[in-house]
Symmetry: C2
Subunit: 465 residues, 2 copies
């Protein structure tokens, strides 16, 4: 043990006694438990925490923070564990704080179209609860992520083209600060110009500034009419051009998802879809019956002009659910597509006019390098995902994948886009953040981190090294 490790161990022992007194069996150091909080999805390394806490209230989280703060113990929040860039790993050890037990829906205000939830509520749980009230919450990353995790990574998903991301749909937060102080940000008014927008600062801060222990969300009425369809295209370019034109015309399309040929093959196999093996769009229109018909007709004409095969409608709600479940299961389909492969699931976003070129370039680069890497995307936002499926023991394939990955991100940034549309920075994209935002802007982010977490206890090593 180094001197530093000895000190940390002594600190941990002291803290651990206090935490155990506070939490009883809601604290675990069992190796099987801490191993689950070492990496998250699709992150290659494992950094287990020293212990895991499962608090059940804001007050308890505040007490946890006070203890960790006193003993200088790092704190790492986690929800469903579905983040992709190493967000929940504990490279400095410390205490993982998992919010699975804080999964209550606290209030639903039907007349104001808002609700309050604890961070461990998952998006499917929330929507199941809301369905009978005729309401829904649109943000849907592929996984059944927790709302707290979704807020922390500024998640979005298939509906963002119409309904926005977590940035637009979180009305307010309860935050436990690193020293245990509890603050509330935002409120239930639809807009405010009262002071700095702390809500938007905590959304997307990846657990580096404080614990989110309560979230107020915007809700929406389930549309009177929902029309879903798939459409195959002779070329990838035809599919992406259709999306670009739809957005440029201002059609309020609710979902417009792209899958390249490889992704269609993987989803056909995993979700028994039987789609023709060609680039596809999955589309959905929300509105009144007349409104959705009208939108669908315009987009169908655009698709036809871009050599689309015509819309195949998912008419029943069962068919529609099956379609979108298949889309959400793309990640699992890719796991099954090349069973022993390591997956790197990366996302970028570009201005919509750059989308055709960006997707075509990456596809060509993947093929040139003989890689297996399906492309799928929330293309209405200019956002697409490449899942590199890499043979774990093939160093050359890994190197080629790294090169394609890196060229894709450099190109997205050069095109005025971003190194991540919805996954976040975590431990993986820190250099790209500097490339994108510039060293001086990242220095401002660090200054804010230093101001709100001066001891660097909250999820250290994320966003910035």
């Amino acid at each position: 043990m180094t001197k530093h490790e000895t000190m940390r161990s002594a600190g941990l022992d002291a803290a651990f006694g206090e935490l155990q007194e506070l939490l009883g069996d809601k604290l675990s150091t069992a190796s099987g438990v801490i191993a689950q909080y070492a990496s998250g999805e699709s992150f290659p390394d494992a950094y287990p925490p020293d212990a895991v806490a499962f608090p059940s209230s804001t007050d308890e989280v505040s007490e946890i923070a006070k203890i960790c703060h006193r003993h200088r113990l790092p704190m790492v929040a986690s929800g469903a564990g579905t983040s992709l860039e190493g967000h929940i790993a504990a490279p400095s050890g410390g205490l993982a704080v998992n919010f699975a037990k804080m999964d209550r829906i606290l209030e639903v205000n039907e007349s104001d179209l808002d609700c309050g939830v604890e961070p461990g509520v998952t998006r499917e749980q929330l929507n199941h609860y809301l369905r009978d009230r005729g309401l829904f919450f649109p943000i849907d990353p592929g996984a059944d992520a927790s709302i707290g995790g979704m807020a922390s990574t500024r998640a979005s998903g298939t509906n963002a083209v119409r309904y926005g991301t977590m940035a637009q749909n979180v009305l307010g937060l309860t935050i436990v600060q690193p020293d245990g102080t509890v603050i509330r940000t935002g409120g239930r008014a639809r807009k405010s110009s009262a002071g700095y927008d702390l809500t938007r600062l905590y959304v997307g801060s990846e657990g580096t500034l404080g614990f989110i222990t309560e979230i107020k969300l915007r809700l929406y009425g389930i549309p009177e009419s929902i029309l879903s369809a798939t459409c195959g295209f002779q070329t990838l370019a035809g599919a992406v051009e259709t999306v670009m034109q739809t957005i440029q015309l201002g059609i309020p399309i609710a979902r417009v998802e792209f899958m390249d040929e490889t992704q269609v093959r993987a989803c056909n196999a995993y979700s028994a879809l039987r789609l023709p093996e060609q680039p596809h769009l999955f589309l959905e229109f929300h509105g009144s019956p007349a409104g959705t018909e009208e939108q669908a007709q315009v987009v169908a004409e655009l698709a036809e002009a871009n050599c689309g095969s015509g819309f195949t409608w998912a008419t029943s709600s069962e068919e529609r659910n099956r379609l979108w479940r298949a889309r959400h299961n793309a990640y699992h389909a890719n796991r099954a597509f090349r069973p022993n492969a390591t997956i790197w699931a990366s996302d970028v976003a570009v201005p919509i006019s750059e989308l055709p070129n960006a997707v075509l370039s990456v596809r060509a680069d993947i093929e040139r390098n003989g890689l297996s890497a399906p492309i799928v995307g929330h293309v209405g936002d200019g956002n697409f995902h490449v899942s590199f499926l890499i043979a774990p023991d093939d160093a050359d394939e890994k190197r080629r994948a790294e090169d394609v990955y890196s060229r894709m991100i450099h190109a997205a940034i050069a095109a005025g886009g971003t190194c991540t549309g919805e996954h976040g920075i975590g431990m993986v994209k820190q250099d790209y953040l500097i490339e994108e935002a510039g060293a001086d802007a990242v220095a401002s982010m660090r200054a804010i981190k230093q101001a709100l977490d001066p001891l660097n206890l909250m999820n250290p090593g994320k966003i910035f090294a």
Copy 2:
């Protein structure tokens, strides 16, 4: 002169020489000029700066900041001077930096529906420029404000119910930090989860963190069909209930503005409108011809059920413009309504279900206290404005107005709303900010201010004392 004043004066003299060398005749200390940068609209006190700079580029602003930083000289940004809460006043003196000369539209990307502008561009200038391209920028505070000022106060206006506020429509910023460092935030991708959302932090920060010298904005296609109407109501409650029900039904109404009877009287006189003297809604629907007809029909039925008089359509674009110009001129109409009165224009926002009660309570309180105070509101957001028209020499009337004002804000906060929906805090609402957000949350805002402007040079005395 106190010792402090002597030191400041010496600092100013030294800084002034350097500023004059940099700026030549783009620097003024003429009393007639500095007097224009002492208060803004509707702010009762005057705090003139020591000098005013009129820079013409980001580089020049950066050089100005370096000089002021070196000499510890406060810097106060201003645009069109239409802010309402004392934002541009210089209570610590120093240099006013006015962006009127930085009024270039830098780029319009029609295919990406975005543009880049300098901060001195006004909203009317931008929309005039965009019109021939079939595009528009929807955010429209009453005045012809500058885009930089609108970003700084997180402005919104009549279209926010559909298109959001500046918070949702600024894609990225160029910021000159207090020491002259230039950073860029955000980008042209429609979404990003790359690091802290600095864009949203600077939007609404009222010039307290840095100078905004360039703004990237979202644009929208001018809708194929625009329908505008007015509708009178027998009761104020009927008008406000109609709005609440429209929002709850999820109708994508583009504008829904409320005027109480007093405001209608003032606007009739100022803008020759000839509306019946009763509470009114001004409405607008955007979409396809079939879509706007359908929306308008639903809302017309709601209005009828709430004892509305039926829609009066503004069919030509001239009529429509006249209608909205009258709405935007409500502030000037109020000035003319009681010519020598002092105006306090205050705004609050509440959850939509609280709106009928909030507006009715304020109206009753105004009448109980024998005050003249028209109410107007972007009621689709739960946001309304009360313009207290106070005889300047009537201390008792002033005291009664202060009491109504203060009760209105306490009630909005108690109802889960905000002390300001779109005007900002400035020098006026600092205590209400603490009441709304809590002292600990405001302490976090202060910590951020301290981190990004450690010498407190940027617009000191605003948001926080």
